[in-house]
Amino acid sequence: MSLSLLEGNEAIARGAVAAGCRFFAGYPITPATTIYNSMLNLLPPLGGIVLQGEDEIASIAFCLGASMAGMKVMTATSGPGISLFSEHISFAVGSEIPIVIVDVQRLGPSTGSATRGADGDINFLRWSNSGGLPVIVLAPVDVDDCFTLTMQAFNLAEKLRCPVLIASNKEIGMTRESIDLDALEKPEIIDRMPPPAGQHYLPFQVAVGQSVPYFLPIGGNVPVRQTSSTHGQNGYITTDHEEIAITLDRLQTKLESAIDQFSFYEFIKSQKAETLIITYGVTARAAKAAYEEIKEQTNPASVLILKTLWPVPESIIRQTAQSYKRVLVVEMNLGQYVREINRILPDMHIDFLGQMNGRLITPRQIMEKIANG
């Protein structure tokens, strides 16, 4: 075994490159800037492109243009920038443009605290698109996840033609950590699907039994249309309410019906536990530490760490929670994902531990909550 020392942000950049990303555009913002710095080191020598936009709106829009030209693209920001991304997240959702968007979260609201961590954007990431259609949000726990989940994010973006958001956190992104790069379990790389040869191409036509349109790039031999407006199969604006309904329903179900294929999670089981901790992101590390400390005691706890946050991996949560008397949701905000857990497990006793003060939730806080309710 040999170890390297990498920041979470650098691991995201390296994971992106390993997944085939060759276009990055960003705008400097703490604590996400080192993703941009890393991409600037990594991509030009590979013939890739790194641009700094005049603002976050331009940065993500550069990416959408390059993605429509066939490239695998990524951008990265934090709270104030993810706010500006909103209109283009909507575009990517509605017009099925593959892109990976990293939010290295910092304490909000607004400009908040540039160098303090939080998981305060979790619901914003889900609901930041006009129209309210689902998006995929993955949440890394450590530097290994930063690498491998970013690769998964690209695969999902390509396969499902959608934006995939990575909910990182200052406490992961800017923390240096040892990583065994040779031991990482890297997924097979997936590319977007071109149409079968000889078929007349319509940019949003979906083959029978499939839920994602084939992709041809703008700039290729066949003229391709892309539009942010409500469109039919041919990429032209449509007012046909039946066609509109079919498309929007498909945008919803293509992600929600596939959730079992990309429900990333880790479950740490304590045999005698009556409490199940549900958590994600950097807070999962405090939960793991708490689990270790109390696993031999009279009131131990199991831990379910969600790495896919959206769409909500409901079946995993239900199946895991059913054998427990109590669920404790721990997250680095004042109560966001706990709403989903309350929704999914209406008959269970659910406690909540949250904190938004720029500091990590500690194992001790979690143990006290387990002991005292």
């Binding site: 170890l3 020392l5 331009a58 575009f91 003229p223």
Partner: protein, 435 residues
């Protein structure tokens, strides 16, 4: 060449609208240039100008208001051979002002046609960035308060190398647009036209009046010689080809045994300029050389050259879960700013914790074991104190050993810097100061 107009979708503009005229002119341009549909992308945004992409059998990308230039950047960088024609209205120019400025400065080979009809036609004739102050428009008196923008002056000042201001009724508009497309660099044509649906309902504007108005302004016609320079994409590819600083992460094999076998937590409390973050990284690398896992969590102010600098470090034989400090093994008190930020650390310590205190840095009352050193009298520079403290820890066989520290320095530094660092490490004395 054949027309690239989409015969399924004829233009749908209001009768008399300049946009329709420009649609046909643009088709003639494409024909004259002998372009096929797959060699062109029309990028548009919101408003009547945003309908343009639908009338042509070319590649097309229609997006959000004012952002057309931004998608065009991604497309052109990814497909340098593609002819990228961007249509925007005066509305899109206003809301996307920052993008226009950036495009002028960047000089990527895009052609921007601003279909300037002095109001928001689609939403009810509200005023835009180019509406005259005396015009009667759909937003009451508000346009009287704002001076209209001279797009071409702005574009020139921002560095656009090709700027034309003209009428939609100009006789050689086909040739002019062709020149703009063929120009290698960012070209802007501000095309003044008539909006019969809104603007000319209450305002008189004819081709003749447009010509008169244009004649009162300084002419803008094509190449702006002082702004001509390398095209961005070409220049980018030249510079990127020489940009060879990619590094693969160093892989560190376990060679040594750590002095303590269990999890060790170390906090460096210092100030900017003391190379706290670098010292933290060196401590982690030292840990890796003994097969330990490591985390480094830093805290510093946004003003990087002033104020506190803190590094929290964990070395552990197991993968590290919680990356915060639970029970520190060592606190290194290097500067008052750092100590003051973490006053709350000191109260709960017992003598399992060692505080390595630089003489003159005050710490709160604590039951920790205090090892005070005077690095000033040892002649160590303030910027080397953090490294010197690592050396003291190594010599005390606390957290790291000397061979681990030396290995880390050999990974981190080269040549002169390595030499100097190794000398600091060997020279520093562990002598404990007593009152």
């Amino acid at each position: 060449m054949a027309s690239l107009l989409n015969n399924q979708r004829p233009p749908v503009f209001c009768p008399g609208c300049s946009h329709e005229r420009i649609t046909h002119i643009l088709d003639q341009v494409f024909q004259k240039m002998g372009l096929n549909g797959d060699q062109i992308v029309i990028v548009s945004d919101i408003g009547c100008s945003g309908l343009f992409d639908t009338f042509f059998d070319t590649h097309a990308l229609h997006g959000l208001h004012g952002r057309a230039l931004t998608y065009a950047v991604g497309l052109k960088m990814a497909k340098p051979d593609l002819n990228v024609v961007v249509t925007m209205g005066d509305g899109g120019q206003g809301i996307g002002g920052a993008h226009l400025l950036a495009a002028c400065r960047r000089n990527l080979d895009l052609t921007l046609l601003i279909l300037n009809n002095f109001n928001f036609g689609m939403t009810g004739g509200q005023f835009s960035a180019t509406t005259p102050q005396e015009a009667q428009i759909g937003s009451g008196f508000l346009n009287q308060l704002e001076r209209p923008l001279d797009i071409c002056q702005v574009a020139r000042t921002a560095g656009a190398p090709y700027v034309t201001r003209c009428s939609a009724f100009r006789k050689d508009l086909v040739e002019e647009i062709q020149r703009a497309i063929e120009f290698e660099g960012f070209s802007v044509i501000d095309i003044w036209g008539v909006c019969p649906g809104r603007f000319t309902k209450k305002n008189r504007l004819t081709p003749k009046l447009i010509d008169e108005a244009l004649s009162k302004l300084s002419p803008q016609e094509g190449v702006v010689s002082e702004n001509v320079r390398k095209e961005y994409g070409r220049h980018y590819r030249e510079l990127a080809a020489d940009h060879k600083i990619s590094t693969t992460p160093v892989k560190i094999e376990a060679k040594f045994n750590p002095p303590q076998p269990d999890r060790q937590e170390i906090i460096l409390l210092g100030s900017a300029g003391q190379r706290i973050i670098t010292a933290g990284e060196i401590l982690c690398l030292a840990g890796l050389s003994a097969g330990l896992h490591a985390t480094q969590k830093n805290e510093y102010n946004i003003t990087v050259l002033r104020g506190l600098s803190i590094s929290e470090l964990i070395l552990s034989p197991k993968k590290i879960d919680f990356s915060g400090i639970k029970q520190p093994s060592v606190i290194v008190a290097l500067a008052q700013e750092g100590v003051d930020r973490r006053m709350d650390l000191f109260g709960n310590l017992d003598d399992d914790t060692m505080v390595l205190q630089i003489n003159g840095v005050h710490i709160p009352p604590t039951r920790a074991f205090i090892h005070r050193v005077n690095l000033k009298t040892q002649g160590v520079k303030k910027s080397d104190w953090a490294l010197a403290c690592l050396a003291i820890l190594a010599k005390l066989k606390r957290v790291i050993s000397l061979e681990m520290l030396q290995a880390a320095l050999e990974i981190k530094f080269r040549e002169k810097t390595l030499e100097v660092s190794l000398k600091i490490v060997s020279d520093v004395k562990i002598e404990r100061q007593v009152d």
